[in-house]
Symmetry: C2
Subunit: 492 residues, 2 copies
């Protein structure tokens, strides 16, 4: 398999698929729509997890674990939620295999081992969790409950793509219970803000915070907050959602509490989640035709060092210097890998680390030893410079910080230059087809108009931005009055 | 529900179940045999995970993630493995629900959405992983592969108990691929040693390393290494296993590599795992009739501070001192929680922290402010002492270290005094029924004798210890010659 990627300009989708596989991030498995997350890809996900987990704990949340399966009778209790997920559920119906009498050495499902009630492999855990919360909550003293779960979920998708849409994916799902509506809404907004902070400060990916229209809302939610990002091909990607669930699940599962006045009331709920889809967003925000580009904050190895040598003596002299460099960098909490493999030539190593997006590559050869220098290559700009060994740690540290900022600035510039205000449907269609990106337009607020625009253009309302100007306008399709602009885009 | 536990001496099994629920570790769910791991229980599991994960990485392993589902044709490829797990598999047969025409608002399995091939919810991942490794391995340069996965697995158990035996459980499973038989055996032994180190140094739980007899081996393994612990009721518990899988999976999935001489050979394999079962082992090794006792190394909160006050002013004066204590302790990497809840009286807090096994409880009241002291209560011995504020950080640090050692020493003393050598079958039965624990006895090495002893006494061979004396003896049942003693016990 050639190391070279199809250029983005030629076929963005092909470029993405090749990159994911060639950079050793993930691959398709023998199970339809399920992926294998390879060690390098998983190491990036682990960094995301660790960062988010810390942010959740700092905002008062605790982790717990609930069952993988949801009995059908619980699954269907909240009707809107059930209806929303019914068409994509994996269903366990039997609990035993037996020897197949017709095929020696092979197995078949034991027809005697049919479950009395089918089990749904969780597509999301509201049902099983709210059925549990019923026993945990009696009084206002038991509230709030602020719980998060790291788990796998399954949604049977017909068209799948590595990280972006897979039948099984990894995610976290927060599920909180509150005394009042106001407190629950505050929580849903707070967690959407946590996602935005994570996306911008760690993924270096600018996002727009907003709320979803009714038709794009989570099944069972009263309001869905979201963060929306823009990929390099001008398509939007929903990167995280946080739902205010009202009392819907509390009513479906009969979860009541005695408030301070001793009166019984249903509990207010939120849920919020981000998934391995963020890996797709990260890849598509920064990477280039040479491969992955990673923000230093999420790179498993921020620095890789490649020795250039001919003899064993040269290698030993170089390694002595490298050991000092490594320990100096580690002292500054910079993750660094010394790539001393003797099965690969330096050129092959350079290509691999470029493909895998290591932010800084340091090369050191006999001449560097002589002059007390190294060569530093920067992944985002692909520029190289010679640096004195004396300044190396400080230089690397500054460079990593600069790269993190620069990647964000570049993505922000792209995003901001791809939000186009339009006031006619002709302009809407032209911008969508020629430039892409977000289209900021007036909408009359009806499901019908939203559906019609989607039918005509494939663009959907990504969100009603939280930060928006009140302005009187006319719906881009119907001309009916509108009070603010919303953001349309084609989306992943 | 009363806070008081059934005493161990009265009903050990009841004591265990009550403790798990009342200490907020876990509870049964609406799904048969599946548990909910509550935040406090999960926090302990997270500490176990973090420690093990670090140990795996230090021994060169990387994490990855493989699909939850195994297509039946892959599952049955390694026949012994498939046969071993066939009777306890959850099986997905359909991928969609639909509205039930007979019950408005309810759902049923869509008969049209039957999978062509059934999917097994992984009971273990050798099949799906070795099917993947086939594409990763061409030459000796691709070896070794040293991968671990943190995941949920499902084994349909008829009799379940929280943590000890549940239909779904959380675990880690290592899956490695090697050039040579010797290297794979070394790996399997190394990981068993890692488990032993973790059990002894962190869980403060002494273990015996050994190998399983043929009948107790993992389905598909050539050799199963294990660590065996002894619970307070004299029953043994298998705490971790590490398998040398030979070339069985490589042959079943056709995984070959070109060795240094250019010849094709099948790859050698290991797999190894520990699970949330360790939570049960931890609980049963140290806890007492008052509740959970936790080794400081795995306690989510090593220290809890309870203020004793009448007025708001007293509370404020106390809180000032506590803030200093907290920051001093945290500086020493001691985890500490200030329990300032005003919804609970100090007595209720004391009872809760005792039940939940917080190693050190510090109480501080107005008199302590006057004298510059606090009261320290130690969970393992239930002793209290007055300590000067000046010495507090050092005292706490020493105490935590002492408790960690003392818990291990106590468990080791119990374990060692419950390994009994017997030379007759009468003595075997008497010791088993009156004293319990491990019975060290000669065995003729046959499956038949092992099965007969199990049938007669319910005791099984827990392991053939790695450290054993070669000595000529006679099998405790048949009198046939034997070269070393093995360890029998009743087991969880």
């Amino acid at each position: 398999m050639s190391k070279k990627l199809t250029p983005r300009a030629e076929d963005y989708s092909k470029w993405y698929n090749e990159l994911v596989v060639k950079a050793d991030l993930a691959e398709n498995s023998a199970v339809r729509g399920c992926m294998v997350i390879k060690p390098y890809g998983y190491a990036i996900w682990e960094k995301m997890q660790a960062t988010l987990d810390k942010m959740f704990k700092e905002t008062g949340h605790q982790n717990a674990y609930f069952p993988l399966f949801v009995p059908k009778s619980l699954f269907e209790a909240e009707e809107k939620n059930a209806e929303g997920f019914a068409k994509e559920c994996a269903i366990v119906t039997h609990y035993r295999l037996q020897t197949d009498p017709d095929r020696p050495g092979k197995l078949r499902v034991d027809p005697e081992a049919k479950l009395e009630e089918e089990l749904i492999v969780r597509p999301t855990s509201e049902a099983i969790i709210w059925n549990t919360y019923r026993n945990w909550i009696q009084s206002y003293r038991d509230l709030p409950i602020l719980i998060n779960q790291w788990a796998n979920v399954v949604r049977w998708e017909m068209r799948t793509r590595l990280f972006l849409r897979t039948a099984e994916f990894l995610w976290q799902e927060g599920h909180t219970a509150h005394e009042t509506k106001a407190e629950a809404i505050t929580e849903a907004k707070l967690m959407n803000q946590v996602y935005a902070t994570f996306a911008e400060n760690f993924m270096a990916m600018p996002v727009i915070q907003g709320v979803k229209t009714e038709s794009e809302r989570f099944a069972g939610a009263e309001e869905t907050f979201c963060i929306e990002a823009l990929m390099q091909d001008g398509k939007a990607l929903q990167a995280g959602t946080s739902h205010f669930l009202g009392q819907n699940f509390a009513k479906a599962f009969d979860v009541k509490f005695a408030n301070k006045e001793g009166k019984q009331d249903h509990v207010w709920a939120t849920s919020w989640g981000v998934s391995t889809r963020l890996m797709g967003a990260l890849i598509m925000t920064h990477s280039d035709d040479f491969g992955l580009v990673l923000p230093p904050s999420l790179a498993p190895n921020q620095v890789v060092i490649v020795p250039i040598y001919k003899s064993e003596e040269e290698f030993e002299s170089i390694s002595k210097v490298v050991n000092t460099i490594v320990s100096n960098l580690r002292e500054q909490n910079i993750s660094v890998k010394y790539d001393y493999r003797d099965t690969q030539r330096p050129g092959a190593k350079f290509a691999q680390h470029e493909l895998q997006g290591v932010p800084i590559r340091i090369a050191i050869g006999p001449k560097d030893l002589l002059y007390g220098t190294v060569e530093i290559a920067r992944r985002d700009t692909l520029t190289k410079e010679i640096v004195s060994l004396n300044d190396l740690t400080a230089t690397v540290k500054q460079l990593l910080e600069a790269m993190q900022k620069s990647l964000f600035a570049k993505a922000l510039h792209y995003r901001d230059s791809h939000i186009t205000e339009v006031d006619t449907f002709e302009a809407f269609k032209t911008v969508l087809e020629t430039k892409g990106g977000f289209i900021s337009a007036h909408w009359d607020g009806t499901n019908e108009t939203e559906a019609k625009i989607k039918e005509l253009t494939k663009a959907t309302i990504r969100c009603i931005p939280l930060e928006r100007n009140e302005e009187h306008g006319a719906c881009v399709l119907t001309g009916k009055p509108s009070k603010y602009r919303v953001l349309f885009a084609k989306a992943y």
